[in-house]
Symmetry: C2
Subunit: 134 residues, 2 copies
């Protein structure tokens, strides 16, 4: 159900497989093997190669659909959908008018945009402490 929530540009006609989806899946496996062996994350920019709606559907079918969907409202909205392939996340960035401006496969244990930065924790603590002493 989450894949349906990924915002995407409407495809033009003649939308068929380009032949790029299978090598893309192979690249994802390579990144997963690196994640497995070294813990190192990686990502693939789907805008960097010809990639049709049919390719997208094929790849989403191959990866399967996971249990987690993340919405982030920072400037334009970002949607991150976990696939059923652990460690593979589908990331779509939109602008403030909700038009898609970037689409990535992120291969990682935790998507890059999620962790709170420790420095931000410190400034939050100070703010709450001020609130408690007023």
């Amino acid at each position: 159900m989450w894949f349906e929530d990924i915002p995407m540009t409407v495809a033009n006609g003649n939308d068929t497989l380009t032949g790029n989806a299978l090598p893309l899946l192979q690249e994802i496996v390579t990144l997963l093997e690196r994640l497995e062996e070294t813990g190192e994350s990686g990502s693939i920019d789907l805008a960097s190669l010809p990639f049709s709606s049919a390719d997208r559907q094929w790849l989403q079918d191959a990866l399967g659909e996971g249990a987690v969907k993340i919405n982030i409202n920072a400037g334009g909205p970002t949607t991150i959908v976990e696939t059923a392939t652990p460690g593979v996340w589908w990331v779509v960035h939109c602008n403030e008018r909700s038009a898609q401006v970037g689409e990535f496969i992120e291969v990682t244990l935790v998507p890059d945009m999620i962790p709170t930065h420790p420095d931000d924790v410190s400034s939050g603590v100070r703010r709450l402490e001020e609130k408690l002493t007023v």
Copy 2:
């Protein structure tokens, strides 16, 4: 806007502040200070103390609303909302009939349910490799 998406039980009448919200905020600050100093996470079970809808509203106003909302569909749905206080996440678990069964404040850099387990990465790699060799 995310706080509105938190599923919650409808409050009964006479819903006023119980006096528990302020000590709860103090406990959150204590957990945040520990997170800041040691990196150790903590959580508070909101069902473990009398906590009214008015308390919830007061606490949500004090923490503020962050940019991230996470939906997880594993059994019943779980909603995790980032507050504007970095490191503080509001977590609600529901059962399969969408009734709330647990509500927690999680104080952590990454909510507990998000990271992919490294062992799961390995089994996913094997599955994709089989798919590629068929």
